[in-house]
Assembly symmetry: C2
């Protein structure tokens, strides 16, 4: 089979062996896979990554132990937890200290013709949901995680900072939840995509943003400067959800966090169930987020396209 | 009367007029006042402060409108709220955007023979509580604020970072609450003071501290490096209470906050009621925290003493 290999900043597509399926695992033929900002960071060598990336995917199960999965169209939870530790027993395998992570930590990813995952990580793509659109399950679960972590009352004003992929998903999830979302970003073109859902948006410059104005703020800019701005926008006793992972150290003035007694909540992956429910309901605006689709063998080109300024989702096709 | 004046780093004691008491305000003769780290920061010119500092005090009411207060031994809530805005109506005058703050923001402080405060800010010193020890009401309220903001279950392991005044108070409040406190600091002498309460302590170096080990961490080091260490010590899904206000920008790696989905809670002033209850119960170790007491006219010397490395509370006497 062919698989993407990242090494020293280079994206190569190489011939390699189909991965061996361990007991309890499924062998999946990848059909669609999405390039995420994390993949671009892995390419830049952050976290010392070398290997096959890719964690947003859908595919077909070709081999497995539990026959219910054979031939099923699936997506998959990306954290491969040990299932025995204290975290796993609490149902928080996403924080298992022994975990590997599909295409990120010591488990070859989905930018390949075939991948493996434990059968318990598989989720069936709901009937009627497009298999390419279902690639959004994983980032959508990350957006839904916000609502698993904090209670946002209906009608609450929420500022979402950042009009990248995650910002656009978070804004939609929160708006459909019943919050009044104001999206702050740099690209009118992208922010307008969410107008049909009633998401108000605003161009946000370095100097011009509302101060101490929102009880809830989601920081999804992907930029080191985003956190300080998000802190400034949060009202006293407000909650700031931190979604951006940035490689460099972030420099912030912590005084407003303490003086205004803000709560900052780090937020990462989420459960797939709420995301799959949202996909089934078909109220989200997802198709316009797909900017390009390329064949797996064109991965180098696809990575370059995904890294262009302002480009949303680039899909690889298996 | 005489009053301390801070200006351009200098601590001067000057003759000046007794402050005029506005309607609804009490005129208080200061008896004891504590020098806090904030006062030392104000001296260094942070926040552009010039004037009379001092916000930890006890005194006697000499003049007032409501006769119940005349002659009373009091301490006082330091935030002078407008009592009309949305924050005040929610009972959160400590976040009133129109507030002044005793000895910090546009209201002359307690390092003077006389000060004024609204009568509604006064709190009677409970019978049997020493008037000098009652100076700790304000910083103790700041320590108690932690328990107003977050639930810490009995028996939970809590790391307190910092063996300064606030660290020692927070450690005691949490230990008496029923948590199992581990205090991390630099001075065995100070940390040992809390042994009678069963607070375990440990010398904490830059490189040697437990990682991802505590569900609750209180950062009270007062140092810009403290936050990153506190983040590292907090276990996945854990809560970090930020107590240190530092002047400089703080540089942190936000990745563990997001990957471990930590909750960071900024924490400042608190209600006086729980602090006064603790003082009445007399289980706290406070007297050994008073390292020195000087006359108000010796304020310059007292500030120098308070700024010495490892020195705990220095009291001014009215």
């Amino acid at each position: 089979m062919i698989a993407v290999q990242l090494e020293a900043g280079q994206v190569r597509v190489q011939e390699c062996a189909v991965p061996e399926r361990q007991p309890g695992y499924a062998l999946i033929r990848m059909k669609h896979a999405g390039i995420c900002s994390t993949d671009l960071q892995l390419q830049r060598g952050y976290y010392g990554f070398a290997g096959t990336p890719g964690h947003e995917f859908t595919g077909v199960v070709e081999d497995c132990d539990d026959l219910q999965w054979r031939g099923a169209a699936v997506c998959g939870e990306i954290n491969l937890a040990c299932r025995h530790c204290a975290w796993c027993t609490r149902g928080l395998g996403r924080h298992c200290p022994n975990r590997t992570v599909l295409g990120i930590v010591r488990h070859p990813g989905a930018f390949a013709e075939y991948l493996t995952l434990p059968e318990c990580n598989l989720r069936r793509i709901p009937a009627g949901v497009d298999e390419e659109i279902a690639v959004f399950t994983e980032p959508l679960a990350a957006a839904c995680e916000i609502l698993d972590q904090i209670k946002i009352p209906p009608g609450a004003e929420v500022a979402v900072l950042g009009d990248g992929k995650l910002g656009l998903l978070a804004a939609q999830v929160l708006q459909l939840h019943g919050a009044r979302v104001r999206l702050f970003g740099r690209h009118t073109r992208k922010m307008r995509l969410l107008e049909p859902l009633g998401v108000e948006s605003e161009i946000c410059s370095e100097r011009n943003f509302p101060v101490a104005a929102f009880p809830y703020v989601v920081e999804a800019t992907g930029s080191p400067a985003g956190l300080e701005r998000a802190v400034a926008m949060t009202e006293p006793r407000g909650t700031l959800i931190m979604k951006s992972t940035v490689h460099d150290k972030v420099s912030i003035d912590t005084a407003p966090v303490i003086v205004h007694e803000l709560t900052l909540v780090g937020s990462r992956c989420g459960r797939f169930e709420p995301a799959l429910k949202l996909l089934t309901a078909k109220r989200l605006i997802l198709a316009p987020l797909v900017e390009d689709r390329l064949e797996l063998r064109e991965a180098a080109k696809a990575f370059a396209r995904a890294a262009e300024k302002g480009v949303l989702k680039v899909m690889l096709q298996g």
